[in-house]
Each structure stands twice: as structure tokens, then as C-alpha cells.
């Protein structure tokens, strides 16, 4: 156990957050969170509704910028580079830190165009042939290629919920991100579709740093190697997933994961 604890602070973290505070107007949503996200492990954020886990996730690719009243303090770095520095280009940042949302949100375009959307914006494909390659590769990685290869021109919204979510993951993958943030990616899906997404997360592990927010503790236990428990805007405990779920240190973590919360 103790040697696992040591491995918790990776030698070369992909993203680090130090004393991050987020305010929505006068209300403080995140109260000084410090955490390292590492490349080789899936990190899960768990915690009750309103604990700030989604808010914190959205600071990692500056999606909070879209909320006018939000203000972020502290430092967050990606490969050692401050992502809130004035020199950081948000467009570039979001290409490097992709995001998958709670509800599958494919654009009302064809499957092909959904995947091609990001590469087009970032000018990643020089020709149609390039784009075809990117689309196929992304769909393969998202585990969707076999299911949709014969109907790439169908609308993305015509797919089932689970397929839509994998399409959204494929869409995020298409711009070759380094980090993928997932905000409760399975909360709108049935158990089978959920299992497919979880398997996909396993396959993507190592290639991308993955951070997943989930309400479902079993899911956090299944897909992650690191688990962070948030409560009332604080990071209560961060540790190896198997430790958190068998022997949490903090009383609040224990009460939450054993179902004694509130």
C-alpha cells in the first residue's frame, strides 16, 4: 500500500493544479484545490452534486471562460505551461485538452462532418484524403468504425445514445488532444452502452491523460486508477483508486463512498 501511495505523485505530471479557486460572482465554488493529473492513469473525480467536481474539470480546459461571472485563481499548468497565462491561446489549449459532455451532443451534421469538425477548425487536414484518414482513425479509436463505416453520411443525431457518446469521444480524439476531460459521460446511457464507454476508456488509457467526472462510484472504481473526492468545493482526498474504495483516509470520503452521506 505504502509504495503505491508514493507512486501517486508522478515524476512528470501532465497537468498540475495548485491552490485553484473558482468564484461564480461572490460565491466560491472551488476552495483551493491542488492536484496532479498524470499521463498513464485515468483520474476520476467523485463527490456529491454541487461539490465542484465538474466546475474544477471545466477549469482544466478553460470552459469556465464561457461563463461571464466565473473567475479562476491559482495556477493550472499543462506540460509546465500556465494555461491561464495571457500568452495561452484558448483555441490551442482546447485542441490539446478535449472534452466530452454529460449528454451526448453530436452536431446536427453527418457522422463524417462531426468528426471532421475539429480538424477543419484547426486546419489539420490538407486534403479530402487526409480528412478521410483522420475520420477513420478517430472512429476506430472511438470503437465506432465498424458500426458506422457504411453510413458516414447519416446524421450523427440518428445514432443511439451510446453511439452518439462514442461519436463525441471520436470527435474529441480527432484533433489529437493530449488530455481528454469527460464530464459524466455515461449518465445518460444504459448499462450496456456504459460498459462500452468504460471499455473504450480502458483502451484509450496511456495514449491520452483522461480525467472523468462521475456520479457513479462503481464506475470510478471500474475505470480509474486515481480517484479524487470533492466535497463542498474542497479536494478532500486524492489517492489510488483501490485505496480510496477499500480504505479511505478521510471520514468524509468514507461516509460518501459507503453511502452514509447526508
Amino acid at each position: 500500500m505504502t509504495d503505491e501511495q508514493k507512486s501517486l505523485a508522478p515524476a512528470n505530471p501532465k497537468m498540475t493544479a495548485r491552490d485553484v479557486k473558482v468564484f461564480y460572482g461572490p460565491k466560491q465554488a472551488i476552495k483551493g484545490v491542488s492536484i496532479d493529473v498524470d499521463m498513464d492513469n485515468v483520474t476520476a473525480f467523485i463527490g456529491p452534486s454541487g461539490c465542484g467536481k465538474s466546475t474544477f474539470l471545466r477549469t482544466l480546459n478553460r470552459m469556465n471562460d464561457t461563463v461571464a461571472s466565473a473567475r479562476v485563481e491559482g495556477t493550472i499548468t499543462l506540460d509546465g505551461e500556465d494555461i491561464y497565462a495571457p500568452s495561452m491561446d484558448v483555441v490551442q489549449l482546447r485542441a490539446r485538452v478535449g472534452m466530452v459532455f454529460q449528454k451526448p451532443n453530436p452536431f446536427p451534421k453527418s457522422i463524417y462532418e462531426n468528426i471532421a469538425y475539429g480538424p477543419r477548425i484547426h486546419g489539420l487536414a490538407a486534403s479530402k484524403a487526409d480528412m478521410d484518414v483522420i475520420v477513420e482513425k478517430s472512429l476506430r479509436r472511438a470503437g465506432l468504425w465498424e458500426e458506422v463505416k457504411d453510413r458516414l453520411q447519416d446524421s450523427g443525431t440518428a445514432l443511439s445514445g451510446g453511439q452518439q457518446q462514442r461519436l463525441c469521444i471520436g470527435r474529441a480524439i480527432a484533433v489529437e488532444p493530449e488530455v481528454i476531460l469527460m464530464d459524466e459521460p455515461c449518465s445518460a446511457l444504459d448499462p450496456i452502452a456504459t460498459a462500452k464507454i468504460e471499455e473504450l476508456i480502458h483502451e484509450l488509457r496511456g495514449r491520452y491523460a483522461i480525467v472523468i467526472v462521475t456520479h457513479n462510484m462503481q464506475q470510478a472504481a471500474r475505470v480509474s486508477q486515481r480517484t479524487a473526492f470533492f466535497h463542498l468545493g474542497e479536494l478532500v482526498e486524492y489517492g489510488v483508486t483501490s485505496d480510496i474504495f477499500t480504505n479511505p483516509k478521510a471520514e468524509r470520503t468514507k461516509d460518501y463512498i459507503t453511502g452514509r452521506y447526508g
Binding site: M217, I257, G262
Partner: protein, 231 residues
């Protein structure tokens, strides 16, 4: 400890703990009665001990069923998970303890004839008492989730081991001097061995209680050198 949001979960955990307490109480009584029957050479009491063991087996089966249900239906986590897993392991150990007590009781008629002449038998009741107390304490420790008490039980195992070693030497000496009593002494030796195993099992339970309570496993104990091979 705070209650679960789902009250039925608390009820199930309580029931589990209640069953284990009952089982422990029965095992404890079985040890006590078996030793009493041995001392008094009471065949009826011995037969009762043998008969009562069935109830212990039944409780084990019930706990196993309940544990599987709780794991399947409640998906326990953290200390709940450890509690439930400990319960599953504890019952199988306590069941073994019950079996040892039964085994002692079964030997009561066989050491009947000359028991008074067999001097070393005087050591056995005290040994049995220590082992019985270990079982008692370890179950209290489980009930109270008391890691310190569990540790104390672990430490007391050496007392039982020491008893066993001295009983063993005494009996061997005795058998050399009185070859006629070999058969009886062999039974007594087995009884001593049974009590020693009860102590070991109580220690195992203590380790599980410690894990359930703290989430840490005990470091490997240093055992005294065994003077003979395990049976």
C-alpha cells in the same frame, strides 16, 4: 458511526454482526463445555457439545448467504466492504473452532478410564480457558471494531503455544514412563493440539478484525519455534 442513507443496509449489517456474535458465543460455550466434560468426565455434556455444533454450522451457512446478498445488492465499499469480507472469513474460522471443540468433546469417552492417573491433564483446563478467552475477546473486538483488543488477542497466542509445548513435553515424558497410557495420552495430545489450533484461529480472526477496523493488514508475526511438526 453514522447511519447509511439506505436504512435496510444498516439492518443487514446489524443482522450479520448479530449472527457472528451468536456464533462466537456458541463456539465459546462449546469450548468451555468440552473442557468441563473432560474434567468431570461428563459424557452427556460431551454429547451435547457435539450436538450443538450443528447450530454453529447452520449459522455459518446463513452468514455466507447473507454476505453474498449484501455484496450483490448493496455493493458495499470501504469499511463496509471490509466488514462484510471479514464476516465471511470469520465465520469459516469460527466454524473450525466449533469443530475443534466438538473434536475435544468426542474424545471425552476415550480418555475415560484412567484420567485421574494422567497428571498432565491438569494443565488442559487452564489452556482451554485461555483459548476460550481469546475467542471471547476477539469476538468482542469484532463487535466493537476494536483494533487494540484484536492486537491483544494476537499477542496472547504465545501463551497458548507455551501451554501446548509444556503439555507436549509432559505427555511425552509420561508416555515414556507409562507405556500403557499411550493410547489415552495420544488422545490428550490431540486435545491439546486442538486447543492450540483454537488459539491460532482466534489469532486469525483477530487479524481480520484488525483489517476490518483499520484497513491495514497486520505485519507477519514472529512465531515461536514449533517443537514439532504440525499435524
Amino acid at each position: 458511526m453514522a447511519e447509511h442513507t439506505i436504512k435496510a443496509f444498516d439492518d443487514e449489517i446489524d443482522r450479520l454482526r448479530g449472527l457472528i456474535a451468536e456464533m462466537g458465543g456458541r463456539a465459546e460455550a462449546a469450548i468451555e463445555n468440552a473442557m468441563l466434560a473432560l474434567q468431570r468426565h461428563d459424557k452427556v455434556l460431551a454429547a451435547e457439545v457435539v450436538a450443538d455444533d450443528r447450530r454453529i454450522d447452520a449459522i455459518e451457512a446463513e452468514v455466507e448467504k447473507l454476505v453474498v446478498e449484501v455484496i450483490a445488492l448493496r455493493a458495499p465499499m470501504a469499511n463496509d466492504l471490509r466488514d462484510v469480507i471479514a464476516a465471511l472469513k470469520i465465520v469459516s474460522v469460527v466454524e473450525r473452532i466449533g469443530d475443534y471443540a466438538k473434536n475435544i468433546a468426542k474424545r471425552v469417552p476415550l480418555v475415560a478410564t484412567n484420567s485421574r492417573t494422567v497428571e498432565p491433564i491438569s494443565l488442559l483446563p487452564s489452556m482451554g480457558q485461555v483459548a476460550g478467552e481469546m475467542v471471547h475477546d476477539v469476538l468482542n473486538a469484532y463487535a466493537a471494531r476494536d483494533a487494540d483488543l484484536a492486537l491483544a488477542v494476537v499477542e496472547r497466542d504465545t501463551v497458548v503455544d507455551d501451554f501446548y509445548n509444556s503439555v507436549f513435553r509432559t505427555l511425552v515424558t509420561y508416555m515414556v514412563e507409562n507405556p500403557k497410557t499411550i493410547s489415552e495420552c495420544a488422545h490428550l495430545l490431540f486435545i491439546a493440539k486442538n486447543i492450540e489450533r483454537i488459539g491460532d484461529h482466534a489469532t486469525n480472526v483477530a487479524e481480520m478484525v484488525y483489517y476490518a477496523a483499520t484497513g491495514k493488514t497486520l505485519p507477519e508475526r514472529e512465531r515461536g519455534p514449533d517443537i514439532q511438526m504440525e499435524d
